[in-house]
Point group: D2
Chain length 379, copies 4
Amino acid sequence: MDLHSLAERMSGRAARYDAAGAFPEEDFDDLREAGLLGLMAPPHLGGAGASFAEYTDVAMRLGSGAGATALIFNMHASVTGALASTPDELVRQFGGTESFFTFRDRVLKAAAEGALYAVAMSEPGIGSRLSQVRTSYERTGSGFRIDGAKTFVSGAGHADAYLVAARDRHSDEPRISYFLVPAGPGVEVRPVWDSLGMRATASHDLHLGVEVGEDALVGGIEGAALVLAQVMPQWLVASYAAVYVGVAQAVLRHGAEHLRERGLHALPMVRARLGRADVQVAAAELVVRKAAALVTDDPGSPETNRWVWRAKLIAGDTAAQVAFSVLEAAGASATRRGHPLERLYRDARCGALQPATSDVCADWLGASALGENPDEARW
Amino acid sequence: MDLHSLAERMSGRAARYDAAGAFPEEDFDDLREAGLLGLMAPPHLGGAGASFAEYTDVAMRLGSGAGATALIFNMHASVTGALASTPDELVRQFGGTESFFTFRDRVLKAAAEGALYAVAMSEPGIGSRLSQVRTSYERTGSGFRIDGAKTFVSGAGHADAYLVAARDRHSDEPRISYFLVPAGPGVEVRPVWDSLGMRATASHDLHLGVEVGEDALVGGIEGAALVLAQVMPQWLVASYAAVYVGVAQAVLRHGAEHLRERGLHALPMVRARLGRADVQVAAAELVVRKAAALVTDDPGSPETNRWVWRAKLIAGDTAAQVAFSVLEAAGASATRRGHPLERLYRDARCGALQPATSDVCADWLGASALGENPDEARW
Amino acid sequence: MDLHSLAERMSGRAARYDAAGAFPEEDFDDLREAGLLGLMAPPHLGGAGASFAEYTDVAMRLGSGAGATALIFNMHASVTGALASTPDELVRQFGGTESFFTFRDRVLKAAAEGALYAVAMSEPGIGSRLSQVRTSYERTGSGFRIDGAKTFVSGAGHADAYLVAARDRHSDEPRISYFLVPAGPGVEVRPVWDSLGMRATASHDLHLGVEVGEDALVGGIEGAALVLAQVMPQWLVASYAAVYVGVAQAVLRHGAEHLRERGLHALPMVRARLGRADVQVAAAELVVRKAAALVTDDPGSPETNRWVWRAKLIAGDTAAQVAFSVLEAAGASATRRGHPLERLYRDARCGALQPATSDVCADWLGASALGENPDEARW
Amino acid sequence: MDLHSLAERMSGRAARYDAAGAFPEEDFDDLREAGLLGLMAPPHLGGAGASFAEYTDVAMRLGSGAGATALIFNMHASVTGALASTPDELVRQFGGTESFFTFRDRVLKAAAEGALYAVAMSEPGIGSRLSQVRTSYERTGSGFRIDGAKTFVSGAGHADAYLVAARDRHSDEPRISYFLVPAGPGVEVRPVWDSLGMRATASHDLHLGVEVGEDALVGGIEGAALVLAQVMPQWLVASYAAVYVGVAQAVLRHGAEHLRERGLHALPMVRARLGRADVQVAAAELVVRKAAALVTDDPGSPETNRWVWRAKLIAGDTAAQVAFSVLEAAGASATRRGHPLERLYRDARCGALQPATSDVCADWLGASALGENPDEARW
């Protein structure tokens, strides 16, 4: 099934999953069948070996079909994509050995075979500031013991494993490591997710009290989390961006359709609202694609990172603003539940609030434009 | 019970009625008990004899407690308030006789005793353009036969009678009359209301196929609907305005509370968002109160009407904008269903979309500022 | 001459003074002749004894005629108004004696007879943060020696005396006092003012190296400057506000005139822009008048001060925004120098930049809404 | 001299030419010397044979140095670029013969040798609606007689020839033709240009009462003006866009420099303003470059034209908005005449007002998004 058809099928189901606040099972059946869970895995492990730019294209199309589904997919792509693209030199520079490569291949191969990964990073009260993580771990004889609680874990209850950030509870300075914790006993999903928008992401809480083996430590390297955030901000900052551009495109598409059906297309204010929304969305798409191309061609450079932050800011703001304006053009009849614009209005508001929030992005970009080091004390 | 306590009780129930999309029974029990259904009825009929300015104050306070309840109340106040304030000269000028005054007293006395009225004006595809009404009536031996369908009838299923706009089906030119149709057989509520915001207004569809007596014709006068819209635009254009200022005030109150609880009050962008929201809401309140004072003191003058349209525009836009910005300041934790800001974000978007929409108000005010007749071809 | 005629005459001269960047001599001849320099002086000293609310009305009307003239007038009114309204208890609380009252009467009587006062507060690099003032003074045998440099002194070269803030150069902690320094030797005007907007205010630099008598110390009290800023913020924060509302009103008036002349009044976008500008200006006027009424009736209360900051914020922002939008509606033909909208576009941008700037006001209001002490560390 | 150095030199002179409202002679000496007047002429005629995309890059860089100079250059590039890129088939389709190619080569060769062309299209009261042109022509024995008046002729008095749109005064239906009228007797420049911004463009009025030879008729084809506007909208709609992106970039550059110098870079609101401006400008640049690439690769297609209108809208709006916000961040000290931000604030406001205005672009794009023919009745 091509991406266009897949997005259309997802679009047709979105109202139902939104109403129920349920994980979009059928969408993931389709994604799995289309081989998209292996999108970021290299061909020799059975994947498609996609670049960040290719991922961005996929995420945008999926987002224009069903934003929530695309967000869950984005988390899976973040885990697999970050693993697949971590430069070997960086691994070795941080003391990584062959065990890293074994780990990576195992995880990516499983993804290509249909495994779904989720990210468990946020915690209550700290947002996604990695350095403040309270979930902790300690070594046991056979591996690690991890205890803590996570929020906003998209796909919770449906993932095969969770990427968990935790701090070494015996270290004085912040030493944050990543673990890939398999679903199962000790990993308890609390179904609290019941949200304004993006309701079908199943972003529930996760309570952890679990022992894992040595091979759950990502790459066999402790303390690498903070540095990864700085060298590959695209996965923490801007991978959502493509999804929200997709959401904004859906606003335009459903808005135009509604306005034609209602015979409102000749009203000057309606045309002006749609015309201004059109250029905003077109611009946001270009910024996100530019960022994606740079991440692909020149990952980690200051210029690339600037575009990554720009992408996150413009995608979140644009989606929210065009949904706000186009719903106003569409009028009260489009606020009925089940109408795509009603859902999109709620979904679209969420992007600017996801980390890095728009206000944080603006600060980062302002600091950068003023010649300061914008990453200082950021994570 | 004073208004402040009443609004607090309503606020405490709002999340529940919003979730269920149910008519707020308990709120109306309280309103009835507090004598507020007779707010607009004159004292000699058992009411409080409130002016438009006094109504505005009540509606604002109720709106800051529970917007949906305040909107239903507003419809009831529109019916009773318009009747109570129709100038006697105007009645006689349009051929009204003693029957008008009998009708009026009967209706207002019932309100003071607890009767609830609703408004059935909008129809699918015509919005609230009175001159386009398709619901029709004809004389029968004993009164009138009314047939048609109405949408957005707030309080449907819970009102004792409905104010229905209908056209004379045997007249060549548009002859629109008002009827007060009692609930009962022939007045069928279709429970379709399931909306983005203001979910507890029970604004269902109404299907009419009913015979009513002579005394259901409002004031015994046919064809008065259009002229009333022009001489008393406050009830069609700006009575909602106070409700949405109340909603905007609730956004500030709940926003400040959330931000303090989360310890976000020291963040400069949070303070800036709240500070700008504060002045917007303060300004909107002044405009709505100014309009209300002029309606009370100098009803129907060009200057008064200008303020009426300003009130509608600024109230709807302000509520939507501050909800948008304050939710962004509050962050993802405030988007959980049940959080007041989550509900307010949806409720607040509805004001600018209710007739007269913000875009229509802006056009009216622009035409007026340019020295044209803004009412031309408006209804 | 009534205020309306006076404002019209000023409006007719504004383009000329703007082009030349020259002090509006004729405007001040008219203001003097109309007795308006004594507006704030009490009747027993020959003045009009105006309240802050009455001042606000005058400033708004003058501002709608010629913004620059109204700004100079505002500085004069600040000096005379603050003196006239300083509560006697406050004077005594800070050790003031009869000398204060003698000083006050002398200054106000002179104003009523036509003396013009200016304010010399800002300094390069410190904006108007009083506590950072570098201009210093020391006692001499016969009075005080004052040295330093001031910027943005509206009316410089045309005032009879300057209200100068200076610090005691022998005090370890910041001890800021006010002096009323007569024009003359040692008070040198450097004609550097050549600005984007408000070009006719003659807001030149002032270089001070001057000895003044004992009676130049305002009220005979040292160290009172900071506390005055907090108890009477209206004169430091919001007295400009009325002027910028006047400027915004002029934008509407000249905009509507231009659009009618050009036959653009039927264009929907033009009407929408003007309609939205109309309600913004109406709202700003109400906020400024509300603040003025509270300053008059309940000076210094927390509620009053909140409205004072709101007034400054909304007036500056509204003027700039409506000038921006209405000029766009008017089109390229209105950008020709000499066209009132061209000047107003430049004048209107200045309000939000004058202290307290809009960003500072938003922070103050946000802190206040969050329950903090917004004055902490503000001056 | 490379483009970067050239733009820097222009930037250094911009304040002076702005103050005088004078044609930037030295800038054009440099442009001529650098061979840039032949930018659009093909190599075999001595030019650089630049594509629209290459032109866009040059215009953006020049615009970031001196907006007014870049605008004059843009008009010259429009004349030479449109000629160079008119498809031969189109010429023949409209009855063009060898005389067209002779004309074209003569004009482009002269440009490569340093001739400067200007555009005389707008007329008082009709803006740039070609179909409303009142300047008229008639055949004489030896060529044509042209009479009329033009406004906003950038470069007037300094161009070697003017591209004039005129109507056949003996034709009943609108038959608009282009002439290239040499400077000289009968072509009178009235130096009325004295504008808010872009003051150095010398966009004076032109009064025409002149006889020209046969070879002045562009391409030897009558009546081709309207169709050209539709097939090559880039030259009428979006060639300015690159200039205003350059202006917006200059706002960022000078803004950051000013804020660092003043030590304001640590203020959160300053950083937020600059960060948001940064992403707006980055997005506008991408849209303009995308439009330029499409014009180069796929001229005249519906998709290309959509990007052309988007480019004009976003460039004009972005320049105005970032200048508005960054000046507010920079504060009163940046409003002194001679400060680059003061000039840029005025220059930047002009883009959205130049045809096609932003409101017209929004309408075009809205109509297009709604599936209508946006060109209908547009010119």
